[in-house]
Point group: C2
Chain length 351, copies 2
């Protein structure tokens, strides 16, 4: 099977010749080609120049041998088009004027993805043409809660207290914010698929800070619209929420052919809870990438053991590649996952 076939088959929970693998935030990072490019260009220049964005998005396919090509695109990109003044920093996005009122919400403009985010769509087109079937182009969008929480917090925040306080205090304004974001994201998903994306991943990274009641009433209906947009575009979808163990049922109910989980929960248990009608992506602890090969191999073996060869497993990290990760070790990890069919024999049949 080609990489794209492997990824798409796993999304449909069909048999695969090897477990498909890709890594969240694989485009960029410490790849030598990217570092060389960064000496001449800023992150913004690369992200908004289709040829450069495509070049960086393609690098991990050669460098790591992964089956998915996620775009070098920040989830905050559509917000810039909506009129938000933001800066991308290593600590996360900084918003010049955070949203703190219904009036602030009203100032967010609708977007036309085909024109406002043309640079990314053109980059997707290049990547798709260059790749053919070697790997599946993965389009990404931020989830509504995650984008809303960045807009309200304005800067880095562990507990999202300001965002959640706004949500509880001004539910109408919060709902209006979620509405505007969702409208923008629906068009953005459809445009990415028309441009050539073959899978869409929704990163609602911070929704795990909500309990099931708040998540399912205030966030899940909007998220469900994003997955409906992916389905309407006839591409499979992946739903990522960090720290989702407390709301896993609600996350799955909101949508996603594949549910992407982090290392804070057991992959096997999550799958038992979700049932065989969902795929699972994950869930190697990214901290292992900083701990040397034996720790990586142990962790990867444990993940593959938990997946137990079930159709629908996409190997990935529980969260993004940490800064400072040695690219060589990611290549070794992808090769290990691809070389590990024997691990997909159920426990009881092993010698």
């Amino acid at each position: 099977m080609t990489g794209a076939e492997r990824m798409l088959a796993a999304c449909r929970r069909e048999p695969v010749d090897r477990t498909p693998v890709w890594f969240m935030r694989q485009a960029g990072g410490s790849l030598p080609g990217y570092l060389a490019l960064r000496e001449r260009r800023s992150v913004e220049q690369i992200a908004t120049t289709p040829e450069l964005c495509a070049e960086v998005s393609l690098m991990p396919i050669e460098a790591y041998g992964v089956d998915g090509a996620v775009m070098f695109a920040d989830i905050m990109l559509p917000l810039t088009a909506m009129g938000v003044d933001l800066e991308l920093t290593t600590a996360g996005p900084i918003i010049a004027a955070p949203i703190r009122s219904a009036a602030d919400v009203e100032r967010l403009r609708p977007i036309e993805a085909e024109t406002d985010l043309r640079f990314l769509l053109d980059a997707i087109g290049i990547v798709r043409r260059e790749l053919g079937d070697r790997a599946a182009v993965i389009g990404i969008v931020g989830g509504p809660f995650t984008l809303a929480s960045y807009l309200i917090e304005g800067g880095p925040s562990r507990d999202k207290l300001v965002a959640k306080a706004f949500m509880y205090r001004e539910p109408t304004a919060f709902a209006a914010l979620i509405r505007r974001l969702t409208d923008a994201l629906i068009g953005y998903i459809a445009a990415q698929v028309r441009a050539g994306a073959r899978v869409v991943q929704v990163f609602d990274s911070w929704a795990g800070t909500l309990g099931p009641a708040a998540y399912s009433t205030l966030v899940a209906p909007a998220t469900a619209e994003l997955f409906a947009a992916a389905s309407a575009s006839s591409v499979p979808s992946i739903h990522f929420v960090a720290g989702s163990a407390g709301i896993l049922d609600e996350v799955a109910a909101a949508g996603g052919d594949v549910i992407s989980i982090d290392a804070g929960q057991s992959l096997a248990r999550a799958w038992e809870r979700l049932g065989p009608q969902r795929g699972i992506q994950g869930n190697l602890d990214p901290a292992r990438l900083l701990a040397g090969w034996p720790a990586i191999e142990d962790g990867a073996r444990a993940v593959l053991d938990e997946a137990a060869g079930r159709p629908g497993h996409i190997f990935n990290l529980g969260h993004a590649i940490p800064r400072g990760t040695d690219p060589g070790i990611l290549r070794d990890l992808a090769a290990f996952v691809h070389a590990a069919p024997s691990l997909r024999i159920p426990h009881e049949d092993r010698p």
Copy 2:
């Protein structure tokens, strides 16, 4: 019932006249008496002067009407006694020389809680005498993983990547670190109980960043020794781990008469998972404290509804009181919880 009777009965899952309530990090914060004291004294001066520490620990009993008196004591205090050079900042503890090798672990000294932490034990004695049975004195210790992760990270960290990488890369040194911390904490728990603590809460706040396999092999056995120490001292214990939904079974297996959960999971579901032989503490989203009274009342009502009058519920926040919380609103919240017996009638019997 008195406050202490209420707290202790709930810890034993016996009937109570009202749901007991206290708030994590209630000592200090924005209480006017504390702010006045802080104009003259540093946090370190207050924490290490028994009369002042006792005064601050007692303040919330009058101010909020809570049933538990948690000590004004940072979980990092025993580490100073172990020879760690650390500074307590609003962003968390900063360690001058983080632990990065087995040799660094070897430099941690054993402590004699009775002498090294005499100031806190004396403060506990004062609080116990002053309170009588009005409220239960709650002694606190940090959990082994949380203290280890602070020592290794050296400063604020969301994902604990450095700590977890050390744990995976150097399991022997990590185990030695956990061993030294556990030995110190066992003596510290026993000393706090001898001094007058009637309940002990273990704050293993960051253990929720681990999956079940790593938690149960590398952390839980040490945590279990802490709960054994509390049992040996004949006091009930509370086990707090933030973001614990993915490892709830393992957290409960490690110990604690009462399991304290945050707002990222459903209290009712957690209780169904743990069974009636455990109490549950929690789990109002602290963000609601910044969102005004209607949001607080809605959230508190939902928490009490989920607890449904089961014996063993202690009302608390899902995490610490946020900075900037209005003390008046905490008094109103404690009164609301105490006045809410009708909420403990099961749903089907309500008009």
